[in-house]
């Protein structure tokens, strides 16, 4: 391999010895720590109200209550949840009144609602009277209205819940105006494959990870930008290109070694930052929640996944996006004439600008899908209902993005190699 491994070792050495390396690591660790711990310190936990305890202790107490009803959302569980809510609302002692109106007391919430919290939140969404109050964001579906559907549910809903859940998901599909007929069909197929009864558990760790995942993934992209921008351009900037490009392995093995290092750095950045953060969230909140169906969090989602599967798919998406971004940065680094600065500027713009562009599906399906291919968008938890249609064949977006990312990574890597080999000194 013409000293490939030795050269790769030296390329790692160059990265590790640059001043940007410790800076990137410190910033990254800082963001990871802030993301993990701020999720706890900024969280609101029912047991913290009126008790002089830490947020962590409050979260642990909340969790212990929720875990009492972990398991499948059977008709019996739904029934108990409806009854518990009915018992609560029938007793005025559970409420206090102030100038703003009547409010539920925290101890009543802990006693009647918290043990069934995932189920009751699900019921409020599935049986919401006005679907315009539903807001879908990342994996979550939030009900923004004041009306609590569970207050008017009777025991009969316990029996029909699974069928009602599917009806709700189907209704969400038909409300989506931008979908084609084939996409609707595909969504309905997916909804049919959702296994019921759903599984419920405490999923605070997964929820916190999902909430923090976008900022963590952007951190990965910026880390890659900082570490890989000088990959080729530093040779031009420091004028070492003259001596390396005229050596036997300067245009072959060295180029391959640099691209290999770019791939490894991108991959490791994604795996370590996302993996360690994920682990951090789970260690803080507990490892429960992996088996929870997405529909418990977002009943409007068509995909039959658990939270663990969804997080794994997202994790792989971040890895693919990071490797693609690494190859893109390597290409830009090889393409510039001299300095590293334009690579950093262009990389930053490429990361930031697509975040602020949003085109509704109903306006332009093509542009809507195209934007998903930018690394900064492909790292979003995206289990929406659109599919990528090519010559009448529907492709699942995340799988298609992985495939396209792999192809683009190979293309950018080849173009980086061509640019470096053809670089003219002076």
């Amino acid at each position: 391999m013409n000293n490939f491994w030795v050269l790769a070792g030296f390329e790692f050495k160059k990265i590790f010895r640059r001043k940007t390396f410790p800076a990137a690591i410190i910033i990254c660790l800082g963001i990871m720590a802030v993301a993990v711990f701020s999720s706890l310190s900024g969280g609101s936990f029912h047991h913290s109200v009126g008790n002089d305890i830490s947020k962590y202790e409050a979260m642990e107490l909340d969790k212990a209550v929720i875990l009492t009803n972990r398991g499948y959302i059977t008709p019996q569980l739904v029934y108990r949840a409806i009854l518990s809510n009915r018992e609560m609302i029938s007793d005025e002692e559970n409420y206090f009144v102030n100038e703003y109106g009547s409010h539920l007391k925290e101890d009543a919430y802990i006693r009647y609602i918290l043990p069934y919290e995932p189920v009751i939140e699900l019921l409020n969404k599935v049986y919401a009277e006005d679907m315009d109050w539903l807001s879908m964001d990342a994996l979550s579906l939030v009900y923004l209205g004041e009306d609590k559907a569970v207050d008017r549910l009777g025991p009969e809903q316990a029996e029909s819940f699974d069928a009602d859940l599917r009806d709700f998901a189907r209704a969400m599909v038909f409300r989506d105006k931008g979908l084609s007929g084939a996409e609707r069909e595909k969504n309905l197929e997916l909804i049919d494959s959702i296994e019921t009864p759903l599984y419920s558990d405490y999923y605070g760790g997964y929820e916190a990870y999902i909430m923090g995942s976008k900022s963590l993934a952007i951190t990965v992209l910026f880390m890659i930008l900082l570490l890989l921008s000088p990959l080729f351009s530093n040779e031009y900037e420091e004028k070492t290109d003259q001596v390396i490009l005229c050596t036997k392995n300067g245009k072959g093995s060295l180029c391959r070694a640099k691209l290999f290092v770019a791939l490894v750095v991108s991959l490791l950045s994604a795996v370590l930052v996302m993996g360690l953060s994920w682990l951090g969230f789970l260690m803080l909140y507990g490892f429960q929640g992996g088996r929870v169906n997405i529909q418990v969090v977002n009943p409007g989602c068509s995909y039959p996944f658990t939270l663990l599967e969804a997080c794994c798919i997202h994790f792989i998406s971040v890895v693919f996006a990071s490797v693609l971004f690494g190859a893109l940065i390597a290409f830009m680094s090889a393409r510039v004439k001299r300095s590293t600065a334009p690579v950093v500027v262009m990389g930053t713009l490429l990361t930031i600008i697509p975040m602020f562009i949003w085109i509704p599906l109903k306006s332009s399906g093509f542009m809507y899908e195209l934007l998903k291919f930018f690394p900064v968008n492909s790292v979003t938890f995206d289990f929406d209902r659109s599919f990528i249609e090519i010559f009448g064949v529907l492709f699942t977006p995340y799988k298609f993005i992985w495939a396209v990312s792999a192809v683009l990574t190979a293309a950018f890597s080849s173009m980086a190699a061509v640019s470096f080999k053809g670089h003219q000194t002076g």
Binding site: N2, N3, V6, L7, F10, K13, K14, R17, R18, E237, E238, K239, T240, D241, Q242, V243, I244, L245, C246, T247, K248, N249, G250, K251, G252, S253, L254, G422, Q424, T425, G426
Partner: protein, 289 residues
Amino acid sequence: MELRIDRVSKQYKNKLAVDRVSMNLHEGVYGLLGENGAGKTSLIRMVCGVLKPTGGSISFDGLDVGDEEYRALLGYLPQDFGYYPEFSAQDFMYYMASLKGLNRAGARARTRELLELVSLNEVAKKKIKTFSGGMKQRLGIAQSLLNDPKLLVLDEPTAGLDPKERVRFRNLIARLGQNRIVLLSTHIVSDVEHIAGRILLMKEGRLLHQGSLEEITQVIQGKVFECLTNEEGVQALTGRCPIINYRSEGDKVFLRFVCEGEPPAGAEEVPAGLEDLYLYCFSESERYE
């Protein structure tokens, strides 16, 4: 062993840096002389394959400049190149050795040998950022020799070296030229005069003269004079002839100059040297400071 440069040109946007230069080089030391902007560095970069010619071809024993085998036979010390400041001299040499295709054992042995040759063995493990300009230059020379090149291209190799080191390196380069082609580009005429078997004089992208010292200086033999004169004599000559040397000696001035026409009275013809030719060729534009 032959380096064939065949009608090589390099055109930048609006400047022709090298204009159809042709030459065939064989074993020995070749001194490439020329003023700034004459096209020396462009020519050297094209010979080293780091700059693409606009026209013409370069080959070494039939190997094209773009071939990996060509690069395997090449050693290059650029005029102004960077080092990795955080690397030690030893690391840098190992890195260059792996780029040049040496195996681990070969890299270690050759690094030790060459760092000793350039007197950097004591500081082999020190970071390059702590090195002086001269030390960096010596490291540059050492790296260019790592693969025992058959074609050694040195751009200003003695720049930054003190006189003692310069003489040492001159001798080393002369020795290296015994079984390889050494192409040496420099501004220091005495370096070329001492070690180059053949001299290549470039001006405005063209090869003006080439040959041995004796052959090349034939151009101005009989045109170099020395005289002892006064200020009026100096005034009369300045602007008419290129002054090679000017030295005050009491109330008189010693002058060495090149004169194509009738020399002033009292001037004595002396044998021409390379410096005379260089100044003669390159002072036309400044006629004659």
